[in-house]
């Protein structure tokens, strides 16, 4: 909740990136979320990641569903087309947009109510298909805009602000994404920018469905004692499996021997993900291992964060479909219409 618009004048110290944009060019309108909302930190991380990656803002399409999280695409990348769709259905709209034009970068922003409750079906099938996108869930375990009802990611035993105890078992979107075949799965915390920005950068470089579950405390309805999605709770129970450095492929890379315990993963776009492990035997290329690891820690009440799984060889939906290189929305009658002569032959075959 910022009342004062930042001046449009660029501060001389604002550095332009390789495509000539300063960080300010990646900002959007003034946020209308509550002061201290974790979601605003995530918007800032998206801005930072896009600026660092030298992405032209207009080549990004940002889509969302309905809810507090889904309002955020208005608050970053003001030069990008955005689409605030219907509740829980961002994945299908984004899939359609991606089918129409494979050359844009697709960023889907959703919340826990949007993706784990009303929209869980679309979340599931979007992950299965491998739509080339960054799917970011801003997860606070609560319905903010309707004032504090539990969502499906709220942990059993957590307390609402009104003191109601949640008895339903939670949906873990990360575990679900792994099971469904998502080729990039990460979890982070809105309060940990140092971890979140590299994860978003890595997700953007990934081809296929890249899912990031970002725990993002709701200061208005879910930041009290008894909540498992509060700032304090997450800080105390956060167990990061690795620290991520993203080395961009388009710059000459100094090949140096990675230090002991570091895993390097080369992505489709040439970028190198360098993971410094904090858990000595955690390998993010092992899907089954990741599922077990997360489940074991969840049992102990720990929130595992970091890059949890990546398949650098993943194929995306357009590859599965075998579609042409030219985006479908650029094809005209000359490329698409079989023509009058062919129609005559079709007519003849129907007599």
């Amino acid at each position: 909740m910022t009342y004062l618009a930042k001046p449009r004048l660029h501060h001389p110290s604002l550095k332009p990136n390789a495509v000539g944009f300063t960080r300010r060019d990646y900002e959007g309108r003034i946020s209308t979320l509550c002061a201290g909302c974790g979601h605003d930190s995530i918007s800032a991380a998206i801005i930072q990641a896009c600026w660092e990656l030298d992405i032209e803002p207009h080549r990004v399409a940002k889509l969302s569903g309905i809810g507090c999280s889904s309002k955020t695409p208005d608050y970053f990348l003001g030069q990008s087309h955005g689409f605030n769709t219907v509740h829980g259905r961002m994945p299908s709209v984004l899939t359609g947009a991606y089918l129409a034009n494979k050359s844009l970068l697709y960023l889907g922003v959703s919340g826990d109510g949007d993706s784990a409750s009303i929209g869980i079906g679309q979340f599931v099938h979007c992950m299965r298909r491998g739509v080339d996108m960054v799917y970011l869930v801003e997860n606070n375990g609560v319905y903010g805009l309707t004032k504090g009802q539990f969502s499906a990611t709220a942990d059993a035993g957590s307390k609402s602000k009104k003191g109601v105890l949640n008895t339903d078992s939670p949906v873990d979107l990360v575990a679900l994404a792994l099971q469904l075949g998502a080729s990039f799965v990460a979890r982070s915390f809105s309060g940990d920018k140092a971890q979140l920005v590299p994860l978003i950068k890595a997700a953007i470089g990934h081809r296929g469905a890249a899912f990031i579950d970002v725990i993002s405390p709701c200061v208005a309805f879910n930041n009290h004692t008894g909540s498992t999605k509060s700032y304090d709770y997450v800080r105390e129970h956060n167990d990061s499996v690795n620290f991520l450095d993203v080395i961009e492929g388009r710059e000459p890379i100094e090949i140096e021997q990675p230090p002991e315990g570091v895993i390097e993963v080369v992505q489709h776009d040439g970028s190198i993900l360098r993971l410094r492990r904090t858990e000595p035997d955690y390998d993010p290329r092992d899907r089954i291992g990741a599922m077990n690891f997360i489940a074991r820690h969840q049992e102990r009440g720990e929130v595992v964060t970091g890059l949890l799984f990546v398949d650098p060889q993943a194929r995306d939906f357009h590859q599965h479909l075998g579609s042409v290189q030219t985006p479908l929305n650029r094809l005209g009658a000359a490329e698409l219409c079989p023509g009058a002569a062919v129609l005559e032959k079709i007519n003849a075959s129907l007599r």
Binding site: E56, F83, T85, V93, A100, S103, Q122, V324, C337, L343
Partner: protein, 606 residues
């Protein structure tokens, strides 16, 4: 006994999954090849194997393609339905049955001619394989009917050859079975009073179902994204699109210039269509009533955010699951006003496969031009039945109308852009595709009220500006949609009849019947909603109008009365909604009864 040449109805009563469908279709095609128009209709259950299924063929040299009603010759191959099938035959008609097992006299009627042919016995005698016995039994009765009705054997044999082209191991046994049936019938049976005689009444018309036509129309119309979910009776639309797109839209390297997604449900289907439309691709989905119900939230978004989307609704019997394998025109209101709040959507009503093809391409153009949802309203009768119709037509060099889209160069040249500004006064704003220009043309799309520049707003004046412009756009649409087709009476009259969609052949036949009786009636076939003003003028130019439709509540009449504030008494509904296609007999009876009643009253008043 009935005698007729090139003018009768034959009905096949079969068991679903017994392989009868291809034999029956071949029967209809053989008559067509003899130059005599036919209109076949599948009456099938929601089932894969075991339940009763019927195939009704109307043979009509006069060219009547609507369902006639009544059966002159019943081919009763299903013991489950025997009793009803026999009862349905017109007095003086014929019953053809498998006489392998003797039937008691009580199984027959005295006022019909009974023709027995031991089909099972012949099949068992000549074939060892049980599957072959079953399949070739169908071809055996083709042989029998060919003799009874005077269908030229050479025509049937040629069709069998075409059907099994490239599979001689299948073609020959089929031809042999046909000859076997023909020979047995020639030796044991007399020809009957119903005869087919070669004519020249088919011309260059084609024989195809509406779903195939609509799928092909989407290929011609430039659809590149098809997202769908299987539902009877619309499934074959997406299948046809895929078949033709694979054939005509695959590069020599094997890459596809289209994308088809079988979505997880209808909500995802329409979501993908909306996403693709927003991003500048032509996209469509095909569904039926229950699918439309699921899609309504998205339909409202596409309407209000002004995103092109084409929905092909192959209507079936409703409400709820209703009658999935029966036909109705009962989704008119559900589609016209789909979604919460004040919404109105464009509907197109093709009368046959020819128009299903043409209107599919028109729908894609209109969706782009009007930046809105366009429904192509088929129904099971024209969607899933093959119908004789004019050949598909496409003007060489025809381009797609992509509507008002600002290009990179126009934005670069400084052309002003406000997403929801009515710069031309037609209610249609300009739009931009995502990714067009680095600094100009980006906007945020939302279902919430916005100002003319797409900024978030909940202000009343902004809301009114927007919804009033949407009404202007809808009025613009009246002039862009397919215009109504009049068939005037041969002399001035005060009676008019309105109709639309698959009612067309039955209505035209009814019209001829009235003409023959000396009753003059003007006809007007409505082809789209919003209704052009000529529809209102037609109503006002007559003292009494009828609106013939295939639903219970006179849905199109409700729309028409509402749209122009007409006096409902001007339009008398004629309604048929039992799930079978409407007949000329029904229409004539309903209109005649009303006229007799009101004319009678007038006489008393006088």
């Amino acid at each position: 006994m009935l005698t007729a040449t090139n003018d009768f109805v034959i009905k096949f009563a079969n068991v679903n999954g017994s392989g009868s469908a291809s034999a029956n279709e071949l029967f209809a095609k053989a008559i067509l090849r003899m130059g005599v128009p036919v209109s076949p209709r599948n009456i099938f259950p929601s089932n894969i194997q075991g339940l009763p299924t019927w195939y009704e063929v109307r043979v009509s040299e006069a060219g009547y393609l609507g369902r006639r009603g009544g059966v002159d010759l019943m081919v009763a191959m299903n013991p489950q339905t025997w009793q009803w099938d026999v009862a349905e035959i017109e007095s003086g008609g014929y019953l053809f049955y498998d006489s392998t097992k003797p039937m008691p006299p009580s199984a027959f009627r005295e006022d019909i001619a009974v023709i027995g042919m031991p089909l099972t016995m012949l099949a068992v005698k000549h074939y060892d394989d049980p599957r072959q016995r079953q399949l070739l039994k169908n071809v055996l009765y083709l042989g029998g009917l060919s003799h009874l009705l005077g269908i030229e054997p050479a025509v049937v044999e040629q069709l069998l050859g075409e059907q099994y082209q490239g599979k001689p191991q299948l073609a020959q046994p089929n031809i042999d079975a046909f000859r076997l049936g023909l020979q047995w019938a020639a030796e044991h049976l007399e020809a009957i009073g119903l005869q087919v005689r070669r004519a020249d009444k088919v011309g260059d018309r084609i024989f195809v179902d509406g779903n195939t036509a609509a799928g092909l129309g989407c290929v011609y119309g430039g659809a590149t994204v098809c997202a769908w979910y299987p539902i009877t009776p619309s499934t074959s639309v997406a299948e046809a699109f895929e078949k033709y797109a694979r054939k005509f839209r695959t590069t020599p390297e094997g890459q596809k210039k289209y994308a088809i997604v079988q979505a997880e449900d209808e909500i995802a289907s329409i979501g993908m269509v909306v996403g693709a439309g927003w991003n500048g691709a032509r996209a469509f989905t095909a569904t039926s009533g229950p699918g439309v119900s699921l899609m309504t939230e998205f339909i409202g978004l596409a309407h209000f955010a002004e995103i092109p989307a084409t929905i092909i609704n192959v209507q079936r019997g409703g409400p709820s699951t209703g009658m999935p394998t029966r036909t109705q025109q009962a989704d008119v209101l559900a589609c016209a006003w789909a979604s919460h709040g004040d919404t109105k959507h464009v509907l197109l009503f093709p009368e046959d496969p020819h128009e299903a093809f043409e209107f599919a391409a028109t729908a894609l153009d209109l969706a782009d031009r009007l930046q809105t949802v366009v429904f192509l309203m088929l129904d099971l009768d024209i969607g899933m039945n093959q119908r004789l119709c004019r050949p598909f037509a496409w003007d060489a060099g025809r381009e797609y109308d992509r509507g008002k889209v600002l290009s990179h160069d126009e934005l670069e040249a400084g052309r002003p852009f406000g997403r929801y500004r009515d710069v031309d006064g037609d209610g249609i704003p300009f739009r931009t595709y995502p990714g067009t220009h680095p600094q100009r043309g980006a906007f945020f799309t939302r279902g919430t009220t916005k100002n003319v520049d797409a900024g978030y707003s909940e202000r009343g004046p902004d809301y009114l500006e927007n919804v009033h412009r949407l009404i202007r756009k809808f009025v613009t649409a009246r002039g862009l949609v397919p215009q109504p087709v009049p068939t005037p009476a041969n002399r001035p009259t005060r009676i008019g009849v309105l109709y639309y969609g698959s009612t067309s052949p039955a209505m035209l036949e009814a019209g001829e019947r009235f003409t023959a009786e000396g009753i003059a009636i003007d006809l007007l076939r409505i082809r789209a909603y919003p209704f052009p003003e000529s529809v209102r003028d037609f109503v006002l130019a007559h003292d009494q109008c009828f609106l013939v439709e295939q639903n219970r509540d006179a849905q199109l009449r409700t729309l028409l009365v509402q749209e122009y504030g007409l006096d409902p008494a001007l339009i008398q509904p004629v309604l048929h909604y039992d799930g079978t296609p409407i007949t000329a007999r029904f229409i004539v009876r309903a209109i005649r009864e009303f006229l007799t009643r009101t004319l009678g009253q007038e006489e008393r008043v006088a």
